[in-house]
């Protein structure tokens, strides 16, 4: 019954590549048909038939053996974020599958397209507490866009096709397929693989209603102080050019969420910087002074909005989003424009008047100057003995010119990297935004390199976050992903320490973290490494790292108790942003 439903739903375009084989072979053929060339995974008992089949596919499917399934899924996320393709992960049942959960939650909240394949015990053992049996479907339901358990090989092709379609269409997200061992082994006559492009109950894109666009244009054309906020939706919708055309015609200043960063170049004259808790001064303050706020492909996360009842109350809100559930969720829209921004933005651009808002833009510049004077100069060009994270970023910008892919972990270094890194290109900023997953950086950087092999990939990681997933050095050692690992070591769990300093009377409760000799650790994995603790050696060390052929680890000792500013304290309005 269920199977029939799925079969009936998938529209077909037959070719004549039928074959007889196992469910595992059907799965791998399907992956190849979907254009997959790289898989991150870790074998185990319940997924052995798939790995057995993989043995014969090594010329078509590159399998990267990670050191932990969490590393595997973060790598797949990094791959998806830089390449724009679906990331694929293999894991076994039980602990293999549960180790994926953090990555699934991260991909779900950051809308990253993934297809995860987990092995499961034989169908006849389901529910018997068999060895390495866990209820993967129910464990992963809240953190997947869709999931499905296959117990019969005849379902494999249709379910896989649906999985890819669901993962990448509409608002992307992670999908998990759990396949029992018997289905992996089962021999069947398989039809040619058919991609899915329609599911009757699923509408990835809401239809565009031109009257909303007309209304949005009317509001924008009447605006004196319009302000655009953009998020990852612009990147996921490959609408970077459409977005740029919109702001350039309307002359509206635009600020980004951390996942939207890089959708337009850092140097674009209308790019006024970063929103939110550690964002730039002007964009935060002026959110509460604009008369029209145009949100594009972003979801008004609490780290962006601060206190909601004091957020942009004076402004008319226009919200463009592909996911209808986002409109009015946190901030009520006066005009909600449902749809794919790649389609809605050009329609809106046609209707908006050409404009420049010189006085309004000057306000952003004024605030920016204040921020430069009070925060940025001291961060980028410190005069004290201690090195700052900001000066490391400035040097990277000078060496790479904004063309590197910057992968970050979570914490102070992440905020500093997002604030100061220069990006010329889209899909260059890879970070764990919504979930804030420490340990994301190293494995995500490995995946990012496979997703963008021609780019320099720099993983900027704190001393705390690095110690959450250091095992992935083993993956780099074995497969040679050319990742430049930059550890910014302040010998503290810096962000928590900063909060304890500012909001908990400097009661430093368990933020004093010690580290191993990172250089020796890297060398134990045959990865070149060095440590710098003096400014005089910083530039050369960074150049050595970036120009080194192969992966490299550079540890930079930075000031222990530096804070990231500006900051919107939790529970405060964006206009109450502090510069110190």
């Amino acid at each position: 019954m269920i199977q029939e439903t799925i079969l009936a739903e998938t529209k077909t375009a037959q070719t004549d590549k039928t074959f007889k084989g196992t469910g595992s072979q059907a799965l791998l053929n399907g992956l190849i048909e979907e254009g997959v060339h790289t898989v991150f995974g870790y074998p185990g008992g319940a997924i052995m038939p798939i790995y057995d089949a993989l043995y014969d596919y090594s010329d078509k499917l590159k399998h990267i053996l990670v050191r932990h399934e969490q590393g595997g899924i973060h790598a797949a996320q990094g791959f998806a974020r830089t390449s724009g393709d679906v990331g694929v992960v293999f894991a076994t049942s039980g602990p293999g599958a549960t180790n994926l959960v953090t990555g699934l939650a991260d991909a779900q909240i950051d809308s990253t397209p993934l297809v995860c394949i987990t092995g499961q015990v034989f169908a006849h053992l389901l529910g018997t507490d068999a060895f390495q049996e866990t209820d993967v479907i129910n464990i992963t339901t809240p953190v997947t866009k869709w999931n499905y358990q296959i117990t019969d090989a005849k379902e494999i092709q249709e379910v896989l096709a649906k999985a890819f379609y669901i993962a990448k269409s509409g608002r992307p997200g992670p999908v998990l397929i759990d396949i029992t061992k018997n289905a992996q082994l089962q021999v069947e006559e398989f039809n040619a693989y058919v991609k899915c492009n329609h599911i009757r109950s699923y509408r990835p894109k809401p239809n565009i209603r031109v009257e909303y666009i007309a209304q949005a244009a009317e509001v924008i054309n009447a605006a004196k102080r319009p302000f655009v906020l953009f998020g990852q939706g612009v990147i996921l919708g490959t609408a970077e050019q459409e977005f740029k055309a919109f702001i350039e015609k309307s002359g509206i200043p635009a600020a980004w969420t951390i996942l939207g960063e890089g959708a337009i170049p850092t140097d674009h004259p209308l790019n006024v910087g970063m929103l939110g808790m550690h964002g730039n001064y002007g964009p935060n303050v002026l959110t509460n002074e604009c008369d029209v706020l145009i949100a594009v492909g972003m979801r008004f996360d609490d780290r962006v909005t601060g206190r909601l009842d004091k957020y942009a109350k004076q402004a008319k809100i226009i919200h463009l989003d592909i996911d209808p559930a986002e409109i009015d969720k946190n901030v009520k829209a006066d005009v909600g424009v449902w749809g794919d921004c790649k389609e809605t933005l050009p329609l809106l651009t046609d209707l908006v008047n050409e404009n420049k808002h010189p006085e309004w833009l000057a306000k952003f510049r004024d605030y920016n100057q204040q921020e430069i004077d009070q925060v940025i100069t001291a961060e980028l060009y410190p005069t004290g003995d201690e090195m700052t994270m900001g000066e490391v970023l400035r040097n990277i910008n000078e060496i790479c010119g904004g063309d590197a892919i910057i992968v970050t972990d979570v914490g102070q270094h992440q905020m500093v990297a997002c604030r100061y890194a220069k990006f010329n290109n889209t899909r260059s900023n890879v970070t764990s935004g919504g979930l804030g997953t420490m340990g994301f950086g190293l494995p995500a950087a490995i995946g990012a390199k496979y997703g963008a092999p021609d780019k320099t990939v720099i993983a900027i990681i704190g001393d705390g976050g690095f110690q959450m997933t250091p095992q992935e050095l083993g993956t780099i050692m074995q497969f040679g992903a050319e990742v430049k690992i930059l550890i910014l070591n302040n010998r503290f769990l810096g962000m928590v320490r900063q909060w304890q300093q500012l909001f908990h009377d400097k009661r430093y409760s368990f933020v004093n973290i010690t580290s191993p000799d990172f250089v020796a650790l890297a060398k134990a994995y045959y990865i070149e490494a060095q440590m710098v603790n003096e400014r005089a050696n910083l530039r050369t060390a960074l150049e050595t790292m970036i120009n080194h052929e192969g992966s490299y680890l550079l540890e930079v000792m930075v000031g222990r108790e530096n804070n990231v500013f500006p900051m919107v304290p939790q529970g405060c309005s964006v206009s109450e942003i502090r510069l110190k």
Partner: protein, 212 residues
């Protein structure tokens, strides 16, 4: 739809502040695990489902969930959107009690001896429109359909007369609007990829029905 309301996709809702009972009606594929997927949308927000019924709908292969919760308009609207976002959900509607006709079925097991001996019991049963489903020497089972208040009242009335067992079903509700959802859903079934579908035309009957 009110022309003053600038928010085209949201009917003005002045009367829907504060909590009240809402019937969320969900049309979905009949798929293992979907009930869990829908239930966690409520439990994630610590919202209790007061009544839940799943059944086939008028369209073959499509299941209908009737979910009853007490919440504010805003919360229910957000919940409905989250439900509708699920891949296997075709549509989620939500309506107040004024906009639906609903029934619950209650079964009462009472001692046959009590029934036959005490005339007042018989009168009670007549009064509540109960029908006998099973009559045995030791007990009799009566059925009553109605609203919770009605079926509850009979429980109270029967308590002194040895009510052995009582059970009440979840609520089933049907929309008062004559067109119903059927035509709309047929469109969903027939629509080809890429073909235009009018979004939310039910919204424009804001006084009759609310959806996303």
């Amino acid at each position: 739809m009110s022309t003053e309301d600038t928010i085209l996709h949201r009917p003005a809702a002045p009367d829907y502040e504060g909590k009240q009972e809402y019937n969320i009606i969900v049309y979905a594929e009949n798929r293992i695990g979907l009930l869990n997927r829908i239930a966690i949308i409520f439990s994630k927000r610590k919202i209790n489902i007061e009544s839940l019924n799943t059944s086939p709908s008028e369209i073959e292969g499509i299941h209908r969930f009737n979910i009853l919760i007490t919440e504010s308009y805003e919360v229910v609207r957000k919940l409905s959107r989250q439900i509708e976002k699920q891949v296997e959900v075709l549509k989620a509607y939500f309506v107040t009690n004024d906009e639906v006709i609903w029934q619950e079925l209650a079964l009462y097991k009472v001692s046959t001896e009590e029934i036959t001996e005490k005339v007042t019991v018989e009168r009670l049963l007549r009064q509540y429109g109960a029908s006998a489903v099973v009559i045995r020497k030791d007990y009799t089972v009566f059925a009553v359909t109605g609203h919770k208040e009605e079926t509850d009242a009979l429980v109270k009335a029967l308590e002194p007369y040895d009510l052995i067992e009582f059970v009440r079903s979840a609520r089933v509700a049907i929309i008062k609007d004559s067109a119903g959802f059927h035509e709309k859903l047929k469109e969903f079934k027939a629509v080809e990829p890429g073909e235009d579908l009018i979004e939310n035309e039910f919204l424009e009957k804001g006084d009759k029905i609310f959806t996303m």
